[in-house]
Structures are given as C-alpha cells and as structure tokens.
C-alpha cells in the first residue's frame, strides 16, 4: 500500500500552498502617474500602471496548433500597441496562460487571471470545450471574456460578459449549405470529430440540412487522435450519399482526406473552417486537392477583390506576422487579432473599469477585423454574418476561392 502519512506529502502540500500564496500577493504599485508632456507624439513610450489583459490559449494538447498562432498574434500586437504609445498613454500588458486543451486547466487559469492577476478582460480560450467550461466563472466574476472558439453555444443565448470573435459554426454551415443547395446535392453523409468542435458542428449540420430540405443518410464520428477513419468512410460509402461533410480540427480531417483518397471514394468531400490552415495541406498532401470548405478571408487575402473592405487589414496583418515569425498567419491567429483589437479599442474609450469595458465591447460596430466586419449588439455578442466566410478549395497545393 502507498503510505500517505509519510512526512513528504504534507511538506509538499505546504510548499505548494506557500508558493501559490506568494504568487497571489498583489504586487506593490510601481508606477508613477502618467505625466502628460507637452508636444508628445503618439509614439512616446507609454508610462504608468499597465492595462492588464489576460489570455488563455491551448499551447499543448489537441488545440495547440490553433492556440500557438493566437499567442504569437497577441505578443505581436502587444509590441505594436506599446510601440505606438500604448492605450491613452498607458502600456498594454498581456498575461498568457496555457490551458493544455483541458477544461480543468482552463478553469484554474481563469481563476488565476481574474483573482491573482486582476486582469481587466480575458481573451480566449482557443477551443470550444474549454471556452464553454469557463463561461460561468466569468459571468459570476463579472469580467469580460472574448473567446476565440467557434461553438455557437458560446454566444447563444447571449451571456452578459461573454463575447466571441470566431465565426460561429452556424455561419460556416450556412455558407456551405448555400453551395450544396446551388449544386443540388441533397443526400448528405456527416463525419464529425468527437471533440466539442465536431459535436457542435454535427448538431448545426443536422438542423440546417433539415431546414434546407436535405437528408442526412449517415452520421459517423471519429476520435481526434484515431489513426484510421477507413471504417467510417466504408460505412458511409455503403449509404451512397451525394456529398460527405467532414467537420473537425487537425489532424483528424487530414487522415479522413487521405483515407478517402486511399479508398478511391468518388463522392465530393466538404470540410469545415477547422481545416483552413496551411498545416492541413501539409498533412493531407495530395489528398487535400479539390476539398471545399468555408474559410476566413485571411487564407486567400491576396486573391480577394480590390474593393473587399477587409483586404487591406488582412494584408497588413499577414505582412506583420510573417515578418515576425517567418510563416504566414491563419484564421485562428485572426480570432485573437480581432479579440485584442476590439478590447483595445474599448479600453481607449472605457479605461480600466471592467463594467465600462464590457459596455464598450458590446457597442463595437463596423469594426473591420480579420474574420469579418463586426457589428456587436446587446442581442449579438459575436457580430458576424455568413459573409464572414468565403468558400475555398485546394488546387495544386494552393488556395483558390470557389465562386
């Protein structure tokens, strides 16, 4: 038997307690009040107590490929905001926590940010599961949360303190349904990831398929880390659908694409905005060719029409991100960009008061972001429409807009 009464265990517990107390101690105010200097330009270095914004991203686990560009984007923006003189002369400070794609870890991170770091607002989490897990904490603590995850349950029904900058899956499905309807594809097979993204997608797909008079002939799921989806695809093949819609996040859908190619399926394959990243094409290789999926405009910024309102914003972000990290950004980093820019704009008008900040975020209108043009309201805490998506396909390893 394990001897739990050895002195080591209480010792460790005490150490952990002491450490967490130390970490929780409020730091002494170090800053002098900002002194407005006459003739100061906007680029004067910011002074004073920093405005602290928290962020919870998945830097480990299944959500890590999404969370990493989100973190990188925030660090990039923190630098550029402070280089441009901060917010009303005060520096912006971002405190990032890793939720490891786990609900319980996200909850601890949220409490840490709210109670110990005393942040004004929190950006993230990266994925739907962790976002849904920590919503109640923010409602209770009355701290604004701007999630980067796509599940529609995050902002519907509206929660007073919770916003999201990711296009909810309802809009992605709506965009895809328009296309399927135009092409007369009515017998659908669904193949969804068993994570929260896929489960939510499954519900929305079923609902909207029914609304559009389509039939779901098969609904299969796969695990995010499964090494073969051949069984599910074989089962789907037996039901002879007109289209297969695979809803998931990397790497599962890449395995689906490869298995579909190996099985020589002749049924057109559609996917979700969860694969609108370069990693998907790298993983799926030639199997990605011809797959159609809704995507944020960031992926195809270059190919957009010159009069697209988002084009310039998208190109600027792409340029800055690529210069810093030597790789192009993706839509996930874009969610973080939108979230922080909306919060920064709100901070400029509301200052360091959580309640006023929330009101200012809710009043965001005509904000041209990476994911779309935002128009928040008391009844819409996401503020995007299905035009936030374009349909994209892969051709010769490159993105192409589907008309």
């Amino acid at each position: 038997m394990l001897n739990l009464h050895r002195p080591l265990v209480p010792c460790l517990l005490v150490t952990v307690l002491v450490l967490s107390l130390l970490a929780g101690c409020p730091k002494p105010p170090t800053a002098a009040p900002p002194v407005p200097t006459p003739g100061a330009t906007a680029a004067a270095p910011p002074t004073g107590e920093p405005l602290k914004i928290g962020a919870i991203f998945s830097l480990q686990g299944a959500g890590a490929p999404l969370g990493t560009p989100e973190r990188d984007t925030l660090l990039l923006l923190e630098k550029s905001v402070n280089a441009a003189g901060g917010i009303n002369g005060r520096p912006l400070k971002i405190v990032i926590q890793d939720d490891q794609s786990e609900e319980a870890v996200a909850l601890t991170a949220a409490k840490q940010l709210i109670e110990n770091e005393k942040v004004l607002a929190v950006i993230g989490p990266t994925i739907s599961g962790t976002s849904l897990a920590i919503l109640p904490t923010f409602e209770k603590a009355e701290v604004p949360l701007v999630s980067c995850a796509a599940s529609v349950k995050i902002t519907q029904p509206v929660k007073k303190w919770v916003f999201s900058t990711a296009q909810p899956d309802t809009l992605a499905v709506a965009k895809l349904m328009d296309y399927l309807k135009a092409k007369g594809l009515k017998q659908l097979a669904l193949l969804t990831d068993s994570n929260a993204f896929g489960a939510s997608g499954l519900q929305v797909l079923k609902t909207q398929a029914a609304e559009n008079g389509m039939t779901v002939v098969a609904a299969e799921t796969f695990g995010s880390k499964d090494s073969s989806m051949t069984t599910q695809l074989t089962r789907i093949k037996g039901k002879s659908p007109q289209a297969i819609i695979c809803w998931g996040t990397n790497p599962g859908p890449a395995v689906v694409a490869r298995n579909a190619q190996d099985l020589k399926l002749k049924i057109p394959l559609f996917m979700s905005h969860g694969v609108s990243n370069h990693k998907f094409v790298e993983l799926a290789g030639a199997a990605a060719e011809g797959i159609i999926f809704p995507s944020s405009r960031i992926l195809v910024a270059e190919a957009l029409a010159a009069n697209d309102p988002q084009k310039q914003t998208l190109l600027d972000y792409t340029k800055a991100f690529t210069a810093e990290y030597q790789q192009p950004p993706n839509s996930f980093g874009g969610h973080a960009w939108d979230a922080l820019q909306i919060v920064v704009a709100a901070l400029r008008s509301a200052g360091d008061d959580r309640a006023k900040l929330r009101d200012a975020i809710e009043k965001t209108t005509d904000f041209i972001g990476i994911s779309g043009v935002f128009k928040m309201s008391p009844t819409d805490h996401n503020g995007l429409t299905k035009d936030a998506f374009v349909l994209v396909t892969v051709k010769g390893g490159k993105w192409e807009i589907v008309k």
Binding site: F222, G223, T231, K264
Partner: protein, 294 residues
Amino acid sequence: MDSAQLLQFAVTGIVQGAIYALVAAGFNLVYSATGIINFAQGEFVMLGGLLAVTGATLLHLPLVLAILLPVVVVMGLGAAMHWFTIRPLKHAHMVTLIMVTIGVSVAVRGGAKLIWGADPQPLPAFSGGESLQFGGAMIEPQSLWVLGIAAGAGLLLAFFFRRTLVGRAMAACALNRRAAELVGIRPDLMNMWAFALAGGIGALAGGVLAPLTFASFDIGVSLALKGFCAAVLGGIGSNSGAIVGGLLLGLVESMGAGYISSGYKDAFAFAILLLVLFLRPSGLLNVLVRRDEE
C-alpha cells in the same frame, strides 16, 4: 457490397491491431523482466515517429535509415531510463516504480513538445503508389508495411528469446529471478535490456505509424492505453498474447464502429477489456501479487 464492406472493416481492424500488438509487445518485454507496467511505452512510440520525421525531412536520410536510426536511439533512451530512474530504486514498491514510469512519460512528452513543437508532422509513405484492391477492399501500401514489419518484429523477438544468449538469460530471469541470479545472470543488466528492447520496438511502431497518422508529441497516451489494453487482453507478459490481444482489439474496434456506431469505437475496446478482466483476471492481478510474493 456487403462482403466488400466486411472485408474492409477486417483489413482496417487488422492493420490497427498490428500497431496495438507492437505497443503491447513493448509492455510485455518490460513486464516479464521487471514486473513493472511501463507507462512511458507510448512515449517510445511517439519518439520513434518524431525522430523518423526529423531524420527524413531535416537530415534527408534515406527512409530505411530514418526509421532504423530512431530505433537505435530510443533503445538507448530506454536503457538510460532504466539505468537512471528504475535501477536506483532497488527496494521501492511496485506502485512507486509504476509512478516513476508515469513521471518519465510526462517529462518526455513535455521535452518532445519543446523540441518538435505542438504541430503534427507528416512522414512520407515508405512506398508511394495507389491503394491496392483486395477482394473489394482497399488497402494502402503503408498498411502492408505495418503488417510486414509487425510480423517481422514478432519473429525477431521470438528468435531473440529462444536462440540468443541474452534473450534466454532474460527469459530465465523472467521465470525465476533468484534461480537466474544463482547461475550468474545479472538481473540489472537483463532489466536494462528489456527496457532497451521495449524502446526499440516502440520506436519501430512509431516509425511505421507516422505515414498513416502523422507524428506528434501527444500521440503516446492513447496508444499506450490501447497497447496496454491489448497486452492485458492477450495475457500480460505473453508475447503471442500481445499479437492475439492486439488483433482482437483492432478487429473489435473496427467491427463495432462499422456495424454498430463509430461514436462508441473506444467504448468497445474498453468494454472487451473489462469483460476479460471479469472473466479471466489472471493478467492484471499478476502485477499486483508478483513482488509481494518474493
């Protein structure tokens, strides 16, 4: 159509099962030598895959070397794991030792994430080409590689235990440690060999698996669970048991997902494990009584 479907489910299940069997063989090697369930076995697989990707893409090694070099490296790591974390705890309780392997697995996973990052990495298939038609079922060439390499590894292990001096010494040690010591076998060394071999076979599994599923720092946990499941199913410690258990697990998963519901794919695997434990618990119980009897 229906028989083609059945065949496809069977093919998929057998390929999956071969992978589980390779992981299970690693568990068995360590268990029969030391009585420990080594929860870092999944990390050996993960390291094999990631090192193979690095070898193939960064160092531009030919694929054979890109697969075999990690096998040697991870064998070394397995031996080092035993020498530095297990061997010093001579009189520790079994539970403590198992905890140590969990600790090592967490540390290795974290280290791998620091080195390779969080993204999954693709590895080119061993031989390109289209999938082959096999009586209505499709089988991709990489799956044939998985089957061939798993069978080869199984034969090699059998040969090692029956025909080589080290192998027979290990087998002797597993049968009766004290008697083996009396005839001059050093259990320490044999245990180190067991960890090294487990590392090697794990890395091999990781290498053949990478073109099918991508290598990533976090694939170890679920593979270790399934591999452990397969080892217990077949009777832990038995090498032919690993093959039987692995294939059975792969087939049950595939058939269950194919004919009942893909949502319960993992549930089938664990349900059959529970069933076996209820009806024939000898496997797992051995772990718990083994050291206490000594």
